[in-house]
Symmetry: C2
Subunit: 149 residues, 2 copies
């Protein structure tokens, strides 16, 4: 069974200012800080074909409680894209983290009852975790090869 | 045959401020402008396994002339990520465009001799265009489903 509370811990981070050396290992240890204190996180997951309409509906109007929890956790410029590759649909996500305690901030999202008990169960059900994703992780971190400021 | 000069025209754009309604149609017509005048572009392409080392080498130290052409074209926060999906490696790219004439700016990159005659031939050779990508296009635009500022 998936652990929605662990969702936010599962994203690979790279400095917003320079390519990451360490690739798809997850969590704050990967968050090389840019001069301005911002770190970019990027990740992917598969989107279930039968859940695409629901996923789009949810993300066309993210709930206020979820937005508030994300903002409080020092996350900004949070984008989700959809790509069709090899006959499957995938979600590609990026966000910027500007806080100073990544784990504490991510934990704070997992403690938001709306996000944990209502939003994540709905969104997780739309996704298929990628093979090889560590137990307890939802999205799979991806490596940043280049960034031009 | 691929047309490197068309590379920069082939990316789907979405407003940095709101989800794009129009998905994988390419070019400036898709660039809904955010209040601040910024538009986000995102795209994907396959990375050839045998070219991965070369691609990494090139993007670990992008040439000064290429950087200058990109900056002059009002492109910033240009990132390339690598994801392994279904046994293949893909490149995900995002950038922000802050100019007022997308086509002219993209054309200006194609007129930079170093980019057109040296850089693009090298990078294009590392990539496999996705099935269904329109003739003359290199990268394939992807749809933005969500953005939280």
């Amino acid at each position: 069974m998936k652990l929605p509370a662990a969702l936010a811990l599962l994203l690979a981070a790279a400095s917003c200012a320079a390519p990451a050396k360490a690739p798809a290992v997850f969590g704050p240890t990967n968050a090389e800080k840019a001069p301005a204190g911002a770190a970019c996180y990027a990740s992917v997951i598969e989107l279930k074909p039968e859940s695409e309409a629901k996923y789009r509906e949810l993300h066309a109007a993210v709930w206020p409680e979820v937005l508030a929890a994300i903002k409080k956790a020092n996350i900004s410029d949070y984008r989700i894209y959809r790509a069709e590759l090899g006959g499957k649909a995938y979600l590609f996500s990026t966000f910027t983290y500007t806080g100073s305690d990544f784990k504490a901030d991510m934990d704070s999202i997992g403690k938001d009852p709306t996000t944990k008990l209502k939003w994540w169960p709905l969104t997780d059900a739309c996704q298929t975790r990628l093979p090889g994703t560590p137990e307890g992780q939802q999205w799979t971190g991806i490596e940043q090869l280049m960034r031009i400021p």
